[in-house]
Symmetry: D2
Subunit: 381 residues, 4 copies
Amino acid sequence: MAENRKWRMGMVGGGPGAFIGPVHKMAAELDGRMELVAGAFSQSSEKSRLAGQAFRIDPARAYANYNEMIAAERIRKDAIDFVVIATPNNMHLPVAKAALEAGFPVMSDKRATMNYSEAEELEKIVAKCGLAYGLTHTYAGYALVREARHLCRSDQLGTIRKIAVEYLQGWLSQPIETTGQKQAAWRSDPKFNGPGGCIGDIGVHAFHLLEYVTGLRVTSLNAVLRTVVPGRRLDDDCSAMLRLDNGAEGMLMASQIATGEGNGLRLRVYGEHGSIDWKQEDPNRLRVKWADRPEEIRHAAAGYLGADARAVTRLPGGHPEGYIEAFAVLYREFADALDASRNSKPSPLPPTLPGIEAAVRGMRFIDRGIESSRRKNWLDF
Amino acid sequence: MAENRKWRMGMVGGGPGAFIGPVHKMAAELDGRMELVAGAFSQSSEKSRLAGQAFRIDPARAYANYNEMIAAERIRKDAIDFVVIATPNNMHLPVAKAALEAGFPVMSDKRATMNYSEAEELEKIVAKCGLAYGLTHTYAGYALVREARHLCRSDQLGTIRKIAVEYLQGWLSQPIETTGQKQAAWRSDPKFNGPGGCIGDIGVHAFHLLEYVTGLRVTSLNAVLRTVVPGRRLDDDCSAMLRLDNGAEGMLMASQIATGEGNGLRLRVYGEHGSIDWKQEDPNRLRVKWADRPEEIRHAAAGYLGADARAVTRLPGGHPEGYIEAFAVLYREFADALDASRNSKPSPLPPTLPGIEAAVRGMRFIDRGIESSRRKNWLDF
Amino acid sequence: MAENRKWRMGMVGGGPGAFIGPVHKMAAELDGRMELVAGAFSQSSEKSRLAGQAFRIDPARAYANYNEMIAAERIRKDAIDFVVIATPNNMHLPVAKAALEAGFPVMSDKRATMNYSEAEELEKIVAKCGLAYGLTHTYAGYALVREARHLCRSDQLGTIRKIAVEYLQGWLSQPIETTGQKQAAWRSDPKFNGPGGCIGDIGVHAFHLLEYVTGLRVTSLNAVLRTVVPGRRLDDDCSAMLRLDNGAEGMLMASQIATGEGNGLRLRVYGEHGSIDWKQEDPNRLRVKWADRPEEIRHAAAGYLGADARAVTRLPGGHPEGYIEAFAVLYREFADALDASRNSKPSPLPPTLPGIEAAVRGMRFIDRGIESSRRKNWLDF
Amino acid sequence: MAENRKWRMGMVGGGPGAFIGPVHKMAAELDGRMELVAGAFSQSSEKSRLAGQAFRIDPARAYANYNEMIAAERIRKDAIDFVVIATPNNMHLPVAKAALEAGFPVMSDKRATMNYSEAEELEKIVAKCGLAYGLTHTYAGYALVREARHLCRSDQLGTIRKIAVEYLQGWLSQPIETTGQKQAAWRSDPKFNGPGGCIGDIGVHAFHLLEYVTGLRVTSLNAVLRTVVPGRRLDDDCSAMLRLDNGAEGMLMASQIATGEGNGLRLRVYGEHGSIDWKQEDPNRLRVKWADRPEEIRHAAAGYLGADARAVTRLPGGHPEGYIEAFAVLYREFADALDASRNSKPSPLPPTLPGIEAAVRGMRFIDRGIESSRRKNWLDF
């Protein structure tokens, strides 16, 4: 059964009150190729134990901290195969470094690190150790994002001329970080979050989606970061004009004070012959508009989609897949990388799975955005 | 760890080429409270073995048929706790009967049985054995179906006057059952499917949703069943006018030859003061229209939703949950029933989980629909 | 200038409080080919005078009743060229008869007459006098209804198999006819409205749209008419199953107690290869779904539309045209008929303009619907 | 009848091939209070004559140029009451000046003038002559723009924090100005259009809508104007970041190379407690989102709308009104101003009708946008 066994994951973070830890678990396990078996779920060993119990793992493998987990697991016969990082940002680099140096591939929640210099450090570690490093830019896992990517990269839209990407949320319209809301609290504390509030929490998703889908690279930007809610310690609203390496231009808008919005990530790409429009809150449809023929709605799981999109759905057309399923696509591709690593090392990540390059690009975006806003001017990337 | 362990499931059906078997597994395991450990996945023992391998279960527990599974499992120390039925309809009653009589609770795919008399038999078995029997009317698991149900049952719409429910698919617009499409093949063969093609495959979902949400009961109907595609052996299109027990009337439309449609289940309920409109292909929104104030869109996971809706989401607003998650809600409620059965027997099903009553109602609907269509007239229910 | 002058219209009905009279005027005049110059706007000569003043016509031409108008106008040098009928239903036949027999072409609001026997009488009068008779089934004037018609009639959808047409309003959810609401009052009074409330007011629009777009003819129906609001004298809700002359079947749903709905006319037509979906409240888009390629949204005024659709828009794409513009298309085609009548008599109506045939069909539908509902059974058409 | 007569309009521009001239006529005449009686429709007297014939006016009143029209009309007994300007931009100031100085109120198509200094000149002329000057920022005429305005100005959304306005068209994605397309030709020729292509043609509409609805004023901007289509002489794409006088910030995006877009004007305004979202292509609905209650869709003509919105619809809910009707609202308000001028001079414009202040603001926006783009930097307004 050895070759058929599930890949075993150890998670850092994801303790009581966490949002993204349980999502990592559900996503990783959805396709039946991975299972959570260990974790250092909280800074508090009692909370870690409770989380382990809730996750129904062996109590002996709910560790008090990640160093303990790595030390204990590396000598087990049934050791974990990789480490998932689902902590606040400040722990991303330390955990990734410890895991990779101990020989464990890493799947990390985004933003990759606290700041850009950490990202450069991480890049060197990943290069040196030759292990898989994946970054959960969730939205890259949606089938119709794959279709959009295919349409852009196969030149069906013609030369890309204009891009509009936006990510609008309203949940931070009020200073809820002062009322004990855990998600808001660490995100608005530079010590845990690093510099860049809104730009780092969601702006970076928008930025990644733009580059992921179009294959273009941002070369300069002019950003305005604002802190709208009085007393907040980090930006909660961000706008930027962008230049792309093919001469196209773009607008990026990210906000967490867009009252009434849920999780409004949307990407529009305008080419010479056609354009695409994808919305995360309506993820199973892709609008494609053409200069001279009817607007199209492409539906997930349809037979006419490209191979990339068809590869990542589990259900027939009309049966909605959502956020967890998209997340699970990234884990599926990470499992592919682990499978491949049995035969070759270092084994490359599937090109559709965001990895260290996306990590460094994203941190660069945050860094340049903050600096551009400080200077109130354009800045090369 | 015993009290904390996952409930162990054994599946019948779900072998290579199956659609719904893997969905049962993903759904049951999503919340981490259940795990697939055994199965009789196919009529062919070789295919069952292959499916077991794909599902990564112990090869010894991939059985050649359900009798073998039940016999072997009931004497294991780590025996399965319940049986999932994911076979074509003809096996639903035999498997359910064998499982229940062997002491295993059952979670069954819908339609409950081949025909109405089988449903009556099943009802007696369930009553006698005192074990949990759940029926996966998936759509009952969506958060906003729960909200719709709450709005109807708490009388916020006023007296319900009119209902329109439709379930439109296009995948059987051509005779694909003659080309080896497995899903189409058994569904159009009376031997495996039983009487009632479209009405039994999807009409029954529409019927269930109507009664589930409104709390009303259909008392008579006038149905027209048609076989539109030449050579097909069962109906592929169904329309019906309905009368409800409170005097309201309704229209039900189900079709598998509605070219271009995916999985278009939609329910509209009109009350004296307001109305609701829910579409399965846009499941995270519920439209509520009022006589004298703005139309509303209620979003999944919003704080203003009723407790029933809020209880069944896993993600913050704006993060779409889909078909698998809705399916998993039913398994979560089945797990609740299993948990409860530790302390009391027989333990009742949660009222939100479709069970034997829904099974009998659904089979009655199919039976009366076919007969009404044969007589071309109204028929009491 | 004689050949270039506008066609002069005299209106019967449309006095103070009327809804549809002013719409007839705006629609008729929109394209600059017609002008309102005379009228008998109300049963009260004082109200007729006031309406004439509001319409800014010559006070001498605001008549006390239609007979007076016809008598006075036929001897004027600058006489009206045709008569518009915008009265309650009970006056439709008498006015049409008087006008036609006096040599005036007629543009009538729908429903054509009080009942079917009146429609038969009208048909004879029209045939005998050889003058243009148009019926304002407004929705036939929308560009994308023309496109839908073209798609159906040019067989691009393949054989039509199934039709769903619905017309849902909520404005009669309460007994507002008892509170002085003029529109509701006459519509719920058999003396002014004739038999058939909802079925005659809006059901007939749905029926017409179905036949207009598909080119098929209903051959039998099974209808249920209900009076939902207590004390109301006519039906306010109507459902029907339909059979078409090519073997297709359909569902028709019309209601005026569908709380929260505005003017929800929608037509869906399913063919073997594709289907269409048009909604009056979103009139500038037509959804076209195909078995094996992306869903389309066709937009009004787009270059890829068929000639019929392109002929009836006034504005570039993206500039919404609405109800008045659709109405005006029918008047434009009526003006075409008047233009043509200069050279040949009788001159045929443009085939896209509903006329006496549609009038008779519609009244037949109302008649058969009422009788079917009374018998609770299918009825040939 | 004198007091009841229609206001007589003389149009400059609107000859063969024009788009907006006929719209002015339809809009002005829709409510029956104005009529086109004279015009200088083209630079060519033959074309002007043909246009007059098509418009069915007295041939004697189809003039060869606007000076001739003004000279002839001012001495007629049945002279025009006001002048409509529907020419390319280069004629806006000369015609407005001539008309106003001859005593004729003016309704002008936007952009008000060629450049900002002309706007300042126009402002002085308007102030001096004391006559009504209206500017057809069409979109200000939609009912739900009025509702949005009311919501913003009555502080129901709380302090406005963020604004996103966009106006996306695709019709200039290719260099159609070189192929004889008349609309494209003059718009891309600085001699007829003035400086500022996209920013002046549609950007100015977006800018106006923003200020019109919110009541805020832009105080500085950072714009990027681009000419995407090779060989084009003016910008065809424009993006800008904006600062508002209450501290809010905004993004403005206007493009005529957004392939596949029709006339995509959209305004979103985010306040502390709620937000609004209005789209010109779906003009009869307004989305209102709240922090803590369901999203709303407000429908045109609904009873729950504010008085401003209810004042400008002609049809019951669910009967779409479109671009022409919105345009006609501005003419209706201009007619109100003319009515008022009978009793008092100068009579103020209704506050909801864009006038000279909007004209100057708009020209300032174009001017500052061009200069900001040239400097690649923020610029005070």
